[in-house]
Structures are given as C-alpha cells and as structure tokens.
C-alpha cells in the first residue's frame, strides 16, 4: 500500500477508530491494555485479524501525557482513565510542573512499544494518538477553569499551551521514530471555543506542532459539532480531519480542499453501539453514497467506537465498506 503524507493513496480506505471493542475480543481489561504493551499489541492484532481495516490506531487515552508529568488519574479497570486533579492555578504552579518533564516517561513507553511491534509486523497505515495542546491545557487547569481563563487570564492559557506543545512535540517525535505513519492529534476541548478563540488557543499551537515536527503527517481530530471551526481548520496544516457524526460531511465536500482527507463520520453511539447490523449497513451505505465523489475520503467512525459495541455491528460496517469501495472515486 502506498502512502502520501501518511495517508493511503490510490484507494478509499476504511479505518474505523477501533481500539476499545478489541478489549472484549482479547478478553482483557481496558486497564491492562493501557498499561501493558504486550496486551495492547495482542488486542490490536486480534482486531486486525478479524476486521482487516486498512489502518490501525491504538487505544485512545487522553491522560498519557499529563500522567507522565505526575498528574493524578482515576484509573478504573474497564473505563477510560481521567485526570482527578488539575494542579495549575497560577504561573508559579506551571513553573513547578515544568520541572517534572524529564522526557519520555510513564505510560508513553507502552504506546511506543505497541507502535514498534505493529510497525514490524503489519504493512498498513499505522496511526498514533497524542492529546492536542488546548485539551492538554484543559487537563492541567481543568476544563472549566481553562474556558474561564480564555476570557479572564489568557496569558496563563498561553503559557500552558507553550509547555503542552513542548511535551506533545517530544512524544510525537518518538512515536514517528517508532514507526507511526501519521499521528491523530486529539483536541476534544477545542469544540467549546468560538472561531476567534479557536484560532488563538488551538489552531496556532497546532500549526506550531506541525512545524516542530518538520511537517510530518498530522490528522486533526475534534469531537462534537465542529461546523463553526472547519473553515479555520483548513489552515492548520493537517493532512486529514477526523470529525464527529454531528458534522454533515456532504457539506464539507467542497468546503475542505481535496488535499485534506475527510475521515469519518458514523455515529459511535447511535450507529455502532445502540444498533443492529442491518441499521449499521444502511447508515454506512448512505454515507458512502454521499461521499462517493469526494476524493481523499476515509470511511470511519466519528469518534472512538465504544467498548460494548456488538462486534457484529463492526462486521456489518466492514462488509459494506468492502462492497462499496468499488463505487468510490
């Protein structure tokens, strides 16, 4: 398979954001997957064997970077870990925290190891994840305080963004070195921003990230309804946009330049989780039909597919994807 900027060329690939349902497949726990590279590799291998997608991403985890800085997390056995305290209230707090960054550490090693193992064995598109700078600032200060500080203390937000960018850049570089073809930058918190705020607090650091990484292939992922941000995202330097089901992809066909891949966007909950195979097939067919004349479209889910998703629903999705690939440009 050929890659252009890390995105598959010459065909319309199907790459659902699959990690979580694999936990059921490998009969492990989510925590085991997020803390042990052997387990996660086994899970991803089983996903690849069963569904044969054109690319694979690891399990999604938005706490890896801040946990490496010593932030405390709540880590249930079968639920996403989440940050339980957000220590940054002032610039002084941030200066203290900066001292905690000693380079690659904590569970970053797990994800680097998984990437290395996958790269060695599978000749398909290998994606990695990093948290986006604004979302990382959100973990450092807490989401609500970050939103308030955008208005009341933008200097502190900027300082947190600069530091986040440093950590993310260091981590992303090693993920590319370990064999990642592309990295999806997960920036869920950006959805709360106005276009002007997005430009300053998320787009600007994203562009710096692209430049820090020597223009390597980055995908921009923002959850929720991002319709108000899409025009600005086109200036980000990302090679693809992974967007959620609330965004009408048909409307993006002409809005987003053809050299940016559109990745998505079947609903993780309504289509994958709470549905039956027939309904998944129908929804997949409709999306493919809508997007058949869009070059550079990657059929996927709008966000991470939930853990309890019936595997037959993913089978149904993959079946239609294969059948309909012929009609795509």
């Amino acid at each position: 398979m050929e890659f252009r900027n890390g995105i598959v060329a010459g065909k319309n690939p199907v790459i659902p954001l699959l990690g979580m349902p694999g936990v059921k497949l490998s009969k492990t726990s989510l925590k085991e997957n997020l803390t042990c590279s052997e387990t996660q590799y086994k899970t991803l291998s089983m996903l690849l064997d069963r569904f044969e997608p054109d690319g694979i991403f690891p399990l999604m985890d938005l706490t890896v970077e801040v946990e490496a800085l010593g932030l405390k997390t709540n880590f249930p056995e079968n639920d996403n870990p989440s940050v339980s305290n957000h220590p940054i209230k002032t610039r002084e707090d941030l200066i203290t925290l900066k001292g905690n960054w000693k380079g690659i550490s904590g569970r970053m090693g797990v994800f680097l190891d998984v990437m290395g193992k996958i790269a060695k064995k599978y000749p398909l598109l290998k994606g990695a994840y990093v948290i986006g700078p604004f979302s990382m600032a959100g973990e450092l200060m807490g989401a609500q305080d970050t939103a308030l500080n955008v208005m009341l203390n933008p200097e502190l937000v900027s300082d947190c963004l600069d530091f986040s960018l440093q950590v993310i850049s260091d981590y992303a570089r090693t993920l590319f070195d370990a064999g990642a073809d592309t990295i999806a930058v997960l920036e869920p918190l950006a959805v709360i921003l106005s276009p002007e705020q997005y430009k300053e607090f998320s787009l600007k650091p994203f562009k710096k990230l692209v430049s820090n990484l020597g223009n390597k292939s980055l995908i921009l992922h923002i959850c929720g309804n991002t319709r108000h941000l899409v025009e600005l995202m086109c200036d980000s330097g990302a090679v693809g946009f992974s967007l959620d089901s609330q965004v009408d992809f048909k409307a993006l066909k002409t809005l987003v330049p053809k050299d940016i891949a559109l990745i998505g966007n079947l609903a993780p909950v309504d289509v994958f989780l709470n549905s039956i195979p027939e309904a998944v097939e129908k929804a997949t067919r409709e999306l493919v039909e809508d997007m058949k004349d869009r070059k550079n479209f990657i059929l996927s889910s709008g966000c991470d597919i939930p853990m309890e998703t019936p595997l037959e629903n993913i089978d149904a999705f993959m079946k239609v994807a294969r059948e309909t690939n012929k009609i795509m440009k």
């Binding site: 208005m151 709360i192 106005s194 909950v269 709470n274 939930p306 309890e308």
Partner: protein, 218 residues
C-alpha cells in the same frame, strides 16, 4: 436611577463587579428583588442563552456571564428569601457515576439558576443511590443527569429504573444530556427530556414545568 437593562448588559458581558455594584444601587433605590431578578439577571442570561443557541456566543463567554450572574445572585438571594419570592421549579443535577467531567453539567446548572430555577447540585461521579436519596429528600420537579462517556451513560438507565422501583417515577421528570447522549437514547431509557446544549436544556425544563402546572402533576 438604575436601569435594570444595565444589569442585564453587565451579565451579558460577564462583568461581575459591575453586576454587583448595580444590584446594590438598585437596592438603595428600593427596587424590588423580584424586579432585579427578572428584568436584570434573568433577562441577561436569557439573551446569553439565546445567543449561545444561535452560535453567536460560545462556552467561555457563557461561563463568565454565568459567573457574573451567580455573583449577583449571591447578594440578591437573601433579599429574595426575605420577600418570599419563589423559584419557578426545583431541579436536582449531577454527573453520572464513573464520570468526573462536569463542565457541561455546570453550564446547565448555571443556565437553570439564571432562568430562575432552584438547583441542587450533587456534583460529579454521583452514584445511583445518591440520586435516589436526593430525589426522596428534596422532592424536585426535575432530575437532570449528565454523562460524557459512552461507558458511563448506561448508569443513567439504572437511576431511572431505581426511581421507578421506589415508586417515585411519576413524581419527577428526568432530563439527560452530554456528548454521547442522543434523543434516541433518551427515548430508549424512558427519560422525559433530552437537550443537545445548555440553553435548550432551560427551554426543556420550562416546558416540563409548564406541563406540570397545566396538569397539576408531573
């Protein structure tokens, strides 16, 4: 003479100091707490909510407006109580068990307070039993639950079933929201209302209260 419209404007700008200053002036000029609430604070948050729905304002602007409103409420509330002004309804709100995210829940809470509801906030990571206990104790008109994760949203259904088993389901209306929640999901778990954003949550809550006032029961 204090123009209550200026209080509304101060709230909309998120100017907490100005909001408090104008409310104090309004007290001196013997304006009633009810007038200050309705034509100042609530009016301001109403406009903010409308603009939020129309994507003219976004979460950060709404949060600082709600903060100004809340600071205003802190000095207005004792006077409201003194003069016996009633809330338009009582709401219990919380993020579901297993979920530590609370920005969405807080936004809904602040918008409800801004619209004149009494809101009891149970916080985040609220267990099924804690919801049940709060419904028994406070007898709210509406119970609001929020979830950000697909793994935790399933607990909402458990809360509804538990309230049913306790024989309290016809006493309280249930509203749910959060990123993974959809109208379909709300119907599936027999919630009475779903709203995609905080401003519509206020409309939904008012709608449920109006229904109650017409029928005399929930």
């Amino acid at each position: 003479m204090v123009d209550l419209n200026n209080i509304s404007m101060a709230v909309q700008r998120g100017d907490a100091n100005k909001t408090k200053e104008l409310i104090r002036k309004a007290f001196e000029e013997k304006l009633t707490p009810k007038e200050i609430l309705d034509n100042g604070l609530i009016k301001g948050m109403d406009i903010v909510g409308e603009k939020f729905k129309n994507q003219e304002l976004y979460v950060p602007e709404v949060l600082i407006a709600a903060r100004a409103m809340q600071m205003g409420m802190d000095i207005l509330r004792p006077k409201l109580t003194e003069t016996g002004v009633k809330n338009i309804g009582k709401v219990i709100i919380g993020t579901i068990e297993g979920d530590l995210h609370d920005i969405g829940k807080n936004l809904v809470k602040m918008m409800l307070v801004g619209a004149g509801f009494e809101v009891i906030d149970l916080g985040s990571d609220v267990t099924v039993d804690k919801f049940l206990y709060a419904v028994k104790e406070h007898q709210p008109d509406i119970l609001c639950m929020s979830a950000l994760l697909t793994t935790t949203m399933v607990n909402m259904s458990k809360v509804i079933k538990t309230i049913e088993s306790a024989g309290l389901r016809d006493k309280v209306r249930v509203m749910i929201g959060g990123a993974p929640i959809t109208q379909n999901y709300a119907e599936k778990i027999t919630a009475d209302g779903y709203s995609p954003d905080a401003a519509s949550a206020v409309d939904k809550a008012k709608e449920l209260i109006a229904k109650k006032n017409i029928t005399g029961r929930m």
